[in-house]
């Protein structure tokens, strides 16, 4: 499992002024971030650009030392036992970088496998398995300088899995992938979690996060603003449902407002906090007045709305 306790991190950025002048500004990247990820769980960290997602991942991966706080990977401290931590981690850091351009995809995978201490044959066998898992196919035998962003993303995921680590960190793993490849990768991540792998994921694709994650945390300006299952997050934010009811009559006499919908019939649209009660009320009124009902839709609030609400309110 993964445990992050109250981590803080600041860094300096350089701002250019004019031709030669520049000044430094201190930025609070993380401001007391805490969360836990259980074994077999998919936990997503979402937030706007510069919110602190990658910094968090890098601290967990021992690639950055926090100013304050601690994180544990399978019980090992990222500060005191970095080697043990690394043995327990697989990571996708950049979807478009991290490989030697003049080596083929498979040669890069074998290289990393050997750096994890595998023999060449063992690394090659594992690399071939992974190339199939991520659907890289024959592209694995092309040099990386010919890769598209999508191919690179697939290769990064394969690299992440080469050491069969129990905990996996994915920093925007499906960026640049076509919809079918992205779906395959999502299925793969799900399968990995079902097999007991712990997954920490960051993504800007809210639909993906909502469908993939057991739990999610929204991070903004270095702080976790809200966390829980996608349903809990939306519930906590009291996000409203949209109810749409189509009436099969050209000019119904109703107390409810309506607009003409795509099929040419009037559609009643209501934003609701209690969708079941409101829907029954609308249906009752339509039936009482003797009209026939066409389509009924209840549109749940999306995680994207939750995200927008949290970030924009801040």
């Amino acid at each position: 499992m993964l445990q992050v306790n109250e981590i803080y991190k600041e860094y300096k950025t350089r701002e250019r002024k004019g031709l030669f002048n520049s000044s430094y500004r201190t930025v609070k990247a993380l401001d007391g971030v805490s969360f836990e990820v259980e074994k077999g769980e998919i936990f997503s960290l979402v937030g706007p650009n510069g919110a602190g997602k990658t910094t968090t991942i890098k601290i967990i991966a021992t690639l950055l030392i926090p100013d304050k706080g601690e994180a544990y990977v399978n019980g090992y401290s990222v500060i005191k036992e970095p080697k043990k931590v690394r043995e327990n981690l697989g990571i996708v850091l950049y979807a478009n970088k991290g490989f030697y351009s003049r080596l083929t995809g498979i040669e890069n995978l074998v290289y990393y496998g050997r750096l994890y201490g595998m023999s060449k044959q063992e690394a090659l066998r594992r690399a071939k398995e992974l190339v199939d898992s991520v659907s890289l196919g024959k592209d694995a035998y092309r040099t990386v300088d010919e890769y598209s962003l999508g191919m690179m993303a697939k290769l990064s995921i394969a690299k992440c899995l080469i050491n069969d680590a129990p905990i996996l960190l994915f920093d925007e793993p499906t960026i640049g992938l076509d919809p079918i490849s992205a779906r395959k990768i999502r299925n793969l991540i799900k399968e990995l979690a079902e097999k007991g792998k712990t997954v920490l994921l960051t993504s800007h694709n809210m639909w993906e996060v909502e469908n993939l994650s057991n739990r999610v945390a929204i991070i903004n300006k270095g702080k976790i603003v809200i966390s829980g299952s996608p349903w809990e997050v939306k519930n906590k934010l009291k996000l409203k449902h949209m109810i749409e009811v189509e009436v099969l009559n050209d000019n119904p006499k109703l107390d409810l407002d309506f607009k003409i919908g795509e099929r040419g019939f009037p559609v009643i649209k209501v934003i609701s906090e209690k969708p079941t009660e409101d829907l029954l009320r609308i249906v009752d009124e339509i039936r009482t007045k003797g009209y026939e009902i066409g389509n009924i839709k209840i549109i749940e609030p999306s995680l994207e709305e939750a995200f927008a609400k949290v970030v924009e309110e801040k």
Partner: protein, 268 residues
């Protein structure tokens, strides 16, 4: 446990070495270009120096000494390239992934050592051959056994040196600038141009350079002119390698932590 650790270590070094060789041979056009350009660079360096001593153009022993000097210039330049390879590794997002495998940075540099070794062998041999054909240099190695030993020690020394130096330039966006300065300064202050060619006063300055005890012996074994006893030279050479190894270990430990604190291995 220790055996397993050792086997893993060996596997990592082999992986890096093989990676270096594979990449080197994939840059075929560069290799051909370097081979074709070498005669021109050799001429440029030789004539550039001989402008000050035009009467030495037909002096075989001076040309031989300068030839070995250029050979070692190629060697030093190539091994300084190891240091900038670390910056390149960061820029390509590779180093962080390498760190995640628990590999040491020195073992990662072995990949570039492979490139430096092949390049020195190819270009260095070409330099020796050209100067023999064009200027009648005598490239017969006077003391081959010691030449090989000294060369091996120099490779080790420069691996440690590059390891240390690469950490120091980790934040430099254009490491070639520092390399360029060092590739001139190190050979000059290391006896790459044999000190017997210099006046006594000038030669006495060079013996204070630590690089002299790494490069100087190679020149001595090649030309057969030992300014000090060859065994003593060997001992001093080993001492220099050990000291550089210790410095490299200490510097890396200190700077690695600092780099991880400031995120210097990160692309962003």
């Amino acid at each position: 446990m220790a055996g397993n650790f050792f086997i893993k270590g060996i596997r990592k070094v082999f992986a890096e070495f093989e990676r270096g060789v594979t990449i080197y041979v994939r840059y075929k056009v560069w290799l051909i270009s370097d081979i074709l350009a070498t005669p021109f660079w050799v001429l440029l360096l030789l004539y550039g120096i001989l402008l000050y001593a035009v009467n030495y153009v037909n002096n075989s022993s001076v040309i031989t000494s300068l030839t070995w000097g250029i050979f070692l210039f190629v060697f030093v330049s190539n091994f300084l390239g190891i240091a900038s390879s670390l910056v390149l590794s960061i820029q390509q997002g590779i180093l962080e992934n390498v760190i995640m495998t628990n590999s040491s940075i020195v073992s990662h540099l072995v990949g570039r050592v492979a490139i430096s070794l092949i390049d020195t062998a190819v270009i260095g041999s070409l330099v020796l051959l050209l100067n023999t054909l064009l200027f009648s240099a005598n490239i017969f190695i006077a003391d081959p056994l010691f030449f090989v030993i000294y060369l091996f020690l120099a490779i080790l020394f420069f691996l440690f040196f590059a390891g240390t130096y690469s950490f120091l330039i980790i934040n430099v966006r254009s490491p070639w600038v520092a390399n360029q300065a060092l590739q001139f300064i190190i050979p000059f202050f290391s006896g790459a141009i044999p000190i017997q060619l210099f006046s006594k006063g000038f030669a006495s300055v060079i013996v204070y350079s630590p690089f002299y005890y790494v490069i100087g012996p190679i020149i001595a074994a090649a030309t057969g002119y030992y300014p000090i006893d060859r065994v003593l030279f060997l001992l001093l050479d080993i001492l220099a390698v050990l000291i550089m190894g210790i410095i490299s270990y200490r510097v890396q430990k200190i700077i690695l932590r600092n780099a991880l604190k400031k995120g210097k291995f990160s692309l962003f």
